[in-house]
Amino acid sequence: MSRILDIGLKHLTELVSEMFRLSISAVDTAVSGLLEYRSVQEKVYDAAKDLRGLYEEVSDIATELIARYQPVARDLRYIRSCMMVSYDLFRVGRYALEISRSSRMLGSLLECDLSPVREAGNIVREMLKITVEAFRDLDVGRAREATRMDERIDEIYREKLKSIMLERNGSRECDVAVALALRNLERIADHATYICEAVEYIVAGHPRHKAAS
């Protein structure tokens, strides 16, 4: 016999799944737009706005489920994680929006070497896809796989900052545009990592901030 709580949990899962879909789409669009010199800000803005709304909805439903059904154990951990993950995905949408804005703010990037953004963008998109699967299947192995990918993103970002400081070859606009894009991708990867930690928290009960250690 299914429990009343299960109906609420299913609804939460659907909302978070929709948030995953929207955030991946927003990152895809933002990174492609930057690499292909297309303005995609409006499209990403719509996705970010929807993510904000869904984040509020997840919070409302999670709060209601806690208040009405007093979930415990894995149910409680799952609901708490949905709240946290929805915030992460809302932030992913915001960072995607920042990526889409940076190209418009800084003008033409035709002369810029965008290869670090291309590499980081590919890794982040792959990372998000694995994160979706990890969360959907509550698969700790996949979650750890995605978490490991974060290291390369950090590396690319650090290398770029270092090169900006040490070498003065590129234009200032290009340096700023690439650094900003990498910074935003690095933050997206961090949020993907938090989501992976949430998977460990749901499955094994390890607190999120300790899951990675």
Partner: protein, 284 residues
């Protein structure tokens, strides 16, 4: 006040040392230690091989589905099972290091040190005052009228009932509401200054407001008493207790402890899947 029981030999101390082994929960010293406890009713095992310790000044909740032996375990602690025909207890229950099932231990004395409150309020057909004074009188305490009044007053204050009854102590106990009657029963148990308080589903017949009052009362007196609470209400266990013991019947329908630990751990991250399924409402 601690229990002082005269023994004829030194064996009890050795038994107490042996009882240190087994499942232990809580931070403080152990007031109750149970070792290899089994109870049978007319030959049929109800609980088997129970090993658990209860810490001083902590509230421990015992939870589990119907028929898992929660109440049987509780009644074993102060030998209430002695009063059930056909009940046979084996194993040891140590109270401050003394096995309460030793031949030279007086069960009446044990019950005065380990008080009990039952599912339904069961005040005596006396006045409010006499209900609380009952235990003091029965135990033969030589108290002046003022001392008796003070002890009754103290017990009613601790039971969070004083303000509601102070002007009508001579009224019949049955004139009180169900929730008030249950708090009166708690006051009656507290009046004889027990060290341990056993509660067997004390709020099962009460409304939510009365239930909340009893729960607040338990939290307010926990620094003075060791409290062991049997409850079917898992959220009550989650709200009130410091530690939780989970019992489950095995395939022979014999009750066993499957998990015990801090209440926060049991309700957020239980280790045993049966606990997870039970507290989440998937079984039971």
């Amino acid at each position: 006040m601690s229990l002082s029981i005269k023994t004829n030999n030194g064996i009890l101390q050795k038994e107490a040392e042996e009882a240190q082994q087994g499942l232990s929960i809580g931070r403080g010293s152990h007031v109750i230690e149970i070792k290899s406890l089994s109870v049978r009713y007319w030959g049929k095992p109800a609980i088997e091989d129970i090993n658990i310790s209860f810490s001083k000044n902590e509230i421990t909740a015992i939870i589990g589905p119907s028929g898992c032996g929660k109440s049987t375990l509780l009644r074993s602690i102060n030998r209430m099972n002695d009063l059930i025909p056909g009940a046979k207890v084996s194993g040891e229950v140590y109270f401050n290091g003394v096995n309460v099932y030793s031949r030279d231990v007086d069960p009446v004395l044990i019950r005065s040190r380990i008080g009990m409150v039952f599912q339904r309020p069961n005040p005596f057909p006396f006045s409010i005052f006499d209900n609380v004074a009952f235990g003091l009188r029965v135990n033969g305490l030589k108290l002046s009228k003022e001392e008796l009044y003070q002890r009754v007053r103290d017990a009613l204050v601790k039971a969070a009932l004083w303000d509601e009854v102070k002007d009508r102590l001579d009224r019949h106990a049955y004139s009180l509401s169900g929730g008030q009657q249950q708090r009166l029963c708690i006051a009656r148990a507290l009046a004889v200054d027990p060290e341990v308080l056993l509660l067997d589903e004390p709020t099962v017949s009460l409304d939510p407001i009365s239930t909340a009052k009893i729960e607040s009362l338990l939290r307010s007196i926990k620094n003075e008493y060791t409290i062991i609470l049997v409850t079917h209400n898992m959220l009550q266990a989650a709200r009130v207790s410091d530690y939780t013991v989970v019992m489950m019947p095995d395939e022979r329908m014999v009750g066993r402890i499957i998990e015990a630990g801090p209440t926060k751990e049991i309700f957020t991250n239980p280790k045993d899947k049966r606990t997870e399924d039970y507290i989440s409402g998937r079984i039971g």
